[in-house]
């Protein structure tokens, strides 16, 4: 299939390109950038990108597809449709499926299921310990062969520090990245909200910032000891960012990401016990949020992800402390990136880097950029159009989002995955 994307503004953060350039695609790859078509190129399809930005397809470091095991909440089909509608062409999924992704066979099944032309590329993060229980190691080499790009614990802690040390040592042996959420399980025990003014008023058990910083201190020390490449997931506090910056300055190889919700919301957004704001880690104070926004801009935080977690209505229609944790996000990753960029007056190329080339680098895959010969994973979006967040507009089965009812900037017009038109926003 030969495709010509014309009249768009090409932004490719990896090559620092931001120019009106056409793209020519053949056999799933980019065969021409700008200028006239390559010799002998006859387009089967011409996509009109007038008024649009043409950028690499988004790379989302955390999207729960809910398969295997949680099909009542969402299915691969619905969530891949959501990804395509959100301009996401590549995603990593956490290991907390049911059963947990701790066996090569399960990983193979998942990647096999996900291998359809209209589906985003899936990079499973394998479990670091069996059943995520934090006791025994998984067969990381086998899992890597089956397709895992990294090993982690989703949001479950490894309590036994000796196990954590050894898991990181083992992973470092093979130079496998270790993805960990920094949250001390004892300080976070029974907590449902940030330990601050809102939790005090609403009578909710709080999780102090210390839960993040103490766990982070352990992780960073062990990273230095073992030489493991560590990626800290869903950083949530100003103090946490400071520790990561200091660790880097001391030569520790650590990266981190932040979720879209923590970039825009804070504890106040719990309002009158709104369970859409029941998240892990919790939404923290205004100053924490401001530090996250600045940190993502400066590069202290490497990437922005959706932390996509579909939850059915029953799971959310509970009292706050009993409600299920998480929010849907694949279709909000791009709009919330644009919103952040607009509010902070950041160059679009830099903002888009945080959801394309930078996360691709963390995944360790050659992706997230548009050069000659690159895979045709492309997102074409209209930055001037709006996306109204409604239950009907969301393709994910998870309608659970604190942004419901809001109008966000940016509307995806086309999403291509390996040159295949996975999403056409011009259709009704």
């Amino acid at each position: 299939m030969k495709i010509h994307i014309k009249n768009g503004r090409l932004i490719d953060p990896a090559s620092k390109t931001d120019k009106a350039l056409d793209l020519f695609i053949a056999a799933g790859r980019i065969v021409g950038v700008g200028g006239t078509a390559p010799t002998g190129f006859e387009a089967n399809s011409v996509l009109d990108a007038t008024g649009c930005i043409v950028c690499p397809g988004l790379v989302d470091l955390a999207a729960r597809l809910r398969e295997p095991g949680f099909e009542y909440r969402a299915t691969l089909e619905s969530e891949m449709a959501a990804a395509a509608a959100g301009g996401v062409t590549r995603l990593a999924c956490p290991p907390d499926t049911d059963p947990v992704l701790d066996e090569p066979g399960l990983v193979e099944m998942l990647t096999h299921r996900a291998r359809l032309p209209e589906f985003a590329h899936v990079h499973p993060v394998g479990a670091l310990t069996l059943q995520l229980e934090g006791k025994a190691l998984t067969e990381m080499a086998e899992l890597a062969e089956a397709g895992c790009v990294a090993f982690g614990q989703a949001n479950r802690a490894i309590v036994d520090t000796q196990v954590l040390l050894r898991a990181m040592m083992y992973a470092a042996t093979f130079d496998f990245p270790v993805w960990l959420q920094a949250q001390d399980p004892f300080l976070a025990r029974k907590g449902v909200a940030h330990d601050g003014e809102v939790a005090a008023r609403l009578g909710l058990a709080g999780i102090p910032v210390a839960a993040e910083t103490i766990a982070l201190a352990t992780i960073l020390h062990l990273a230095r000891e073992t030489g493991a490449r560590v990626h800290v997931t869903r950083i949530s506090s100003a103090a946490g960012i400071d520790m990561i910056v200091a660790a880097r300055a001391a030569g520790i190889a650590v990266t981190c990401d932040v979720a879209i919700h923590h970039l825009h919301l804070c504890e106040m957004d719990i309002g009158f016990f709104d369970t859409q704001a029941r998240l892990d880690p919790p939404l923290r104070s205004r100053s924490d949020r401001d530090a996250l926004r600045a940190g993502l801009a400066s590069g202290a935080i490497n990437a922005l992800c959706s932390d996509h977690t579909p939850v059915d209505d029953d799971g959310k229609q509970m009292p706050f402390e009993e409600a299920e944790v998480g929010a849907t996000g694949l279709e909000l990753l791009l709009p919330l990136t644009l919103k952040w960029a607009q509010e902070m007056k950041l160059p679009l190329a830099m903002a888009l880097a945080r959801v394309t080339s930078d996360p691709a680098q963390i995944l360790g895959v050659k992706a997230g950029s548009l050069g000659l010969g690159a895979a045709a994973d492309i997102c074409v979006f209209d930055p001037a159009a709006g996306f109204r967040v409604t239950r009907e507009n969301l393709r994910s089965q998870g309608k659970n989002t604190p942004f419901l009812g809001r109008e966000l900037p940016g509307r995806v017009r086309y999403t291509l995955i390996d040159g295949h038109l996975a999403f056409d926003g011009t259709l009704g």
């Binding site: 330990d195 601050g196 003014e197 939790a199 005090a200 008023r201 609403l202 009578g203 909710l204 709080g206 102090p208 957004d269 309002g271 009158f272 016990f273 709104d274 029953d314 229609q317 509970m318 009292p319 706050f320 402390e321 009993e322 409600a323």
Partner: protein, 320 residues
């Protein structure tokens, strides 16, 4: 962001979920309305026909014979039909039970739900669900949700203070005990600050105070003797046994030594200071029997006032 589900489109009280956010005038009106209801208790026939033909369902997801009984008495004195439901919840089904139960009862022509639940915010969920399913006419009264609020207790405490001390703007008031876990304390703090009490103190060890409690408008004391100096009202909170298990306190004996109200500590307050307690009391833990049975304690009148205040709240809601 949601809007406060307590008020209807005319700004009138549709539900009573929390004292926080209620204007001073609304609180005062409730206290004023309670006064004539007090008199009803003195009559031969302790009933008025205001809620005749209305069904009030007591939905208690957390056991409490005391509170449930006072709500039942209040509703019956308003001539309402009262149905009591004590619901035992398994942890897996709590939320489902709350909304499903409410749906079933609403279908049985319920006019008012009095709800007590172990999770903060549960009555809000219920009120929002009623609004979302077109049942705006059903009123929800929060009889205590988790650690969040116990508005009728806060109101009856205010009624008690007004009865004995008249002018809120001249008082120094101390709340003593486990504020961290107390929905009563939170409601009291909101009521006292809204009614213009110039100095509200909380007295407790650090482990029993929520982070950032000062931002609710209170002065924090860890030394009870310092905190009680010159106060007009001492509001005691109950200490629950569980606190010893969570490494929050070592023992009740040590707690009583530092934070128990004894005659000697009470003497530091004003000579005409009153002592209040929401009940039930743990004698020898937070309060000495000599004080509980002494002349400054107004704990029994609080109970009587509680019925009048709850009658006032239910009558006002039913009329809106």
């Amino acid at each position: 962001m949601q809007k406060s589900p307590q008020l209807n489109s005319h700004g009138e009280l549709q539900h009573l979920l929390t004292i926080e956010g209620l204007p001073r005038e609304v609180l005062t009106r409730i206290l004023d309305t309670a006064a004539p209801f007090s008199e009803v208790a003195e009559r031969e026939v302790k009933k008025v026909p205001l809620l005749r033909g209305k069904s009030v369902f007591n939905l208690f997801f957390e056991n409490s014979t005391r509170t449930r009984t006072t709500f039942e008495i209040a509703a019956k004195r308003l001539s309402a039909d009262v149905i009591n439901l004590n619901i035992n919840t398994s942890s897996a089904n709590k939320g489902e039970t709350l909304l499903d139960t409410a749906d079933n009862l609403a279908a049985m022509q319920a006019d008012m739900f009095v709800v007590r639940h172990a999770s903060s915010g549960a009555p809000f969920l219920l009120a929002q669900h009623m609004a979302a399913t077109g049942r705006d006419h059903i009123h929800v009264v929060n009889a205590g949700d988790g650690r969040h609020a116990h508005p009728t207790q806060g109101l009856l405490d205010m009624y008690t203070i007004r009865h004995y001390k008249t002018d809120f703007t001249q008082l120094t008031i101390a709340i003593v005990g486990d504020v961290l876990h107390s929905r009563v304390a939170r409601s009291q703090i909101h009521a006292l600050t809204t009614l213009g009490v110039p100095e509200v103190r909380v007295i407790a060890p650090k482990t029993l105070l929520p982070t950032g409690i000062e931002r609710l408008g209170v002065r924090v004391f860890h030394d009870m003797r310092e905190g009680l100096r010159g106060v007009d009202v001492v509001m005691m909170l109950r200490l629950q046994n569980e606190r010893m298990q969570g490494a929050l306190l070592p023992s009740t004996q040590e707690y009583f030594k530092s934070y128990g109200l004894t005659p000697e500590k009470l003497a530091l307050a004003k000579p005409d200071a009153i002592v209040m307690h929401p009940g039930p009391m743990n004698r020898g833990v937070e309060i000495d029997s000599a004080v509980a049975d002494g002349s400054q304690a107004v704990i029994l009148p609080q109970v009587t006032f509680g019925i009048a205040v709850r009658m006032a709240v239910m009558a006002m809601l039913a009329g809106n």
